[in-house]
């Protein structure tokens, strides 16, 4: 039951052109930096990437966009990436924009064996086009389907040999749901510990959802909007 692999090369073994990936993170917060670097090195092409954002021009998924490795993005907000906008408007990049809450819930549904659910989000908008509408309690809802991925790639703060994960602060975001929804789920962590070191009462992602785990070599953890206040 030891799921530890040596590093990103071993963790991403079997990942091929044209596959669908989920990548955790919100903005640059909680993204799997080491796996993204390895994806760039591998030069895998034609990827469908499910990720709330698309990184910035020089970091995160922006690195894969620069090398034109992504065929399709499924995201909720991509405003931080100028290249993204350009590729999308020129038609080089297929884009499916999804309300953030529906994206999170669709990943969870994919991992939880729920093929579809109703949500009010997006009713009456472009997002509802082609989707079933049904009224519950007098309010129209649309039917959204589950998302799954060939590989889900998540980043956690701490993890153990069984794949149990703990995230830190708002770096948790989409990681737990994506961890549930991968056929193969890869977790990179800042600190890998022995089984029993993590309190079983405070595990965010139970190890059953994780197939491979490794400790990332380094984390840059870039800040997008450094905002501070003055000391009095």
């Amino acid at each position: 039951m030891n799921k530890v692999v040596s590093g990103p090369v071993a963790a991403l073994q079997g990942l091929k052109d044209g596959m669908t990936l989920m990548l955790g993170g919100f903005g640059l917060c909680g993204i799997p930096e080491n796996c993204i670097a390895e994806l760039v090195r591998m030069n895998i092409k034609g990827l469908t990437c499910i990720s709330n954002n698309a990184g910035v021009d020089e970091f995160g998924l922006g690195l894969l966009l620069q090398k034109r490795q992504i065929r399709k993005m499924i995201s909720s907000y991509v405003g931080e990436n100028a290249l993204f906008e350009q590729l999308m408007l020129s038609g080089e990049l297929e884009v499916d924009l999804i309300p953030q809450g529906s994206l999170a819930e669709r990943c969870r549904a994919g991992g939880a064996g729920i093929p579809a659910f109703f949500t009010p989000a997006g009713h009456g908008t472009e997002v509802a086009e082609g989707k079933e509408v049904r009224v519950f309690n007098g309010k129209p809802h649309i039917l959204e389907s589950a998302l799954t991925a060939d590989f889900a790639i998540v980043k956690a703060w701490k993890g153990d040999h069984f794949g149990n994960l703990i995230y830190k602060g708002t770096a948790r975001n989409f990681n737990p749901m994506m961890a549930m929804a991968g056929k193969i789920t890869v977790a990179e962590v800042e600190e890998l510990v022995e089984p029993g070191e993590l309190d079983p009462n405070f595990i965010h992602t139970p190890g059953i959802f994780v197939q491979r785990i490794f400790q990332g070599e380094k984390y840059e953890k870039r800040i997008e909007q450094r905002t501070v206040r003055k000391r009095d």
Partner: protein, 238 residues
Amino acid sequence: MIRGQETLNLKREPLNLYNPMALDKNGIAKRIAQELRDGYYVNLGIGIPTLVANYIPEGIEVEFQSENGILGMGPFPFEGEEDADLINAGKQTITARPGACYFDSATSFAMIRGQHVHLTVLGAMEVSERGDIANWKIPGKMVKGMGGAMDLVASAENIIVAMMHANKAGESKLLPECSLPITGVGCVKRIVTELAVLDITPEGFKLIERAPGVSVEEIKALTAGRLVIEGEIPEMRI
């Protein structure tokens, strides 16, 4: 829980080109802050809505939710104390207050969709007289995405829009119908602009308050949708 005032680092700048009496961004935020009630959980969008946190009325306690996964958001950190793992939905570094908690995105939108958040304040490019809102897309031009806005507007029971009355070209943003792709249908309850407070009613935009020194005629001139004016319209008390 935020008590009293916090200082956010946004500059004070006049925004309306047409009336020097109009409110600035902070004035709009101050007026919206009067809508806060003790015990409210509040989600503030990016831009003017963020400033609302600076003007919480004395004697009440509210808590801020940010949809990326925190309840009990505090002010920006002191320089040197930024934590890359602690940001808000605008990707800004923040702090957490005592009693805060972190959660995943599914739980965050369970709070929003499940109507546990009492008040949502967000910006808009257009609002229709039926309460439709457009704030996520300009076809062929801007493709940033809707982020959490569609979940927020589809679910929140109490939505206040904070925006300028007109766009930079001087065209009204309060329209009979939205011309841009909409974010949500019939969801806006109240709009606060630099000129006025307006409620969405079956008859259209109902004028509730004027900005100090702004006339009803000026508001009429910049409102393209149906405007309902009943009796004397009081001035805002900021």
